[in-house]
Symmetry: C2
Subunit: 158 residues, 2 copies
């Protein structure tokens, strides 16, 4: 059930998206809320920071983790002015975001020439059919690192 | 065709992954190369920086973009000590990485309890079947931001 608090948080995400258009960033905003309180709010900073990973959701996750001093945002709710792209959605899984709301969707993003739908369609293909070529190599050398990780007693898992 | 230069770059990614285990980070490394020259090299910094988005590939992309002063890494090759997770793969699409090599794969990562395979399996489900609940809201308000974006003459697209 969407309530007035949810609407307030989403309107902030939308306002950040609109302000970003005026400032020269991408038209996206995101807000992260924990126990009813806003812990992070960011717009897209890709072109402003020359950082292709600086989508609003990723920036908000980084900001929330810094503020809460943790890499685990379990219990947090994310409000995104647009449906998260695969990078952002996966980052939300890694951060253990509990649920999310979105306003515009990936078809809207596609209509204004963002690659979200293209990347989702690439993910739906088997790796050898994707447009980005890849090849496995030196597996026998790299697996040793994972064996060291397994043996390590004091590792911090995430 | 994998040549000795490729092997050298991958061995650096693997060395960074191993050093990361010793330093308290995750067992992953990544190297980005442009025209034969290394432009960025990073290990996983999730637990060291309290940043769930600080996978080796994402850190290397950020570093390469900073160094080259661009958000577009077209022509760059990425060497990852482990098959990129969905977040990293999508960030590589956004950055226009041209191709990539990997050593360990997502099944190896799963075997040492990393969530890569789980997130890939979530992506294969339709959104309503995924474990992270979501809901669309305020679409009519958010679409106005995209209309403003469309009308803006001096926007920087990416």
């Amino acid at each position: 059930m969407i309530n007035n608090e949810d609407k307030g948080h989403m309107r902030l995400a939308i306002r950040l998206a609109t302000e970003s258009v005026h400032k020269g960033g991408g038209p996206f905003g995101a807000v992260i809320v924990k126990e009813g309180k806003i812990v992070a709010a960011s717009s897209n900073r890709v072109t402003l920071d020359n950082d292709p990973t600086a989508h609003a959701e990723v920036c908000a996750i980084r900001e929330a983790c810094k503020k809460l001093n943790t890499f685990d945002l379990s219990g947090c709710v994310l409000y995104a002015s647009c449906e998260p792209c695969p990078m952002c959605l996966a980052s939300m899984y890694w951060a253990h975001i509990s649920r999310y709301y979105y306003a515009n969707d990936k078809e809207d993003a596609k209509a204004i020439d963002f690659d979200d739908a293209f990347i989702y369609s690439e993910f739906a293909l088997s790796p050898e059919k994707r447009s980005m070529p890849r090849e496995q190599m030196l597996h026998d050398e790299a697996i040793v690192t994972f064996q060291e990780w397994t043996k390590k007693d004091d590792k911090i898992e995430y």
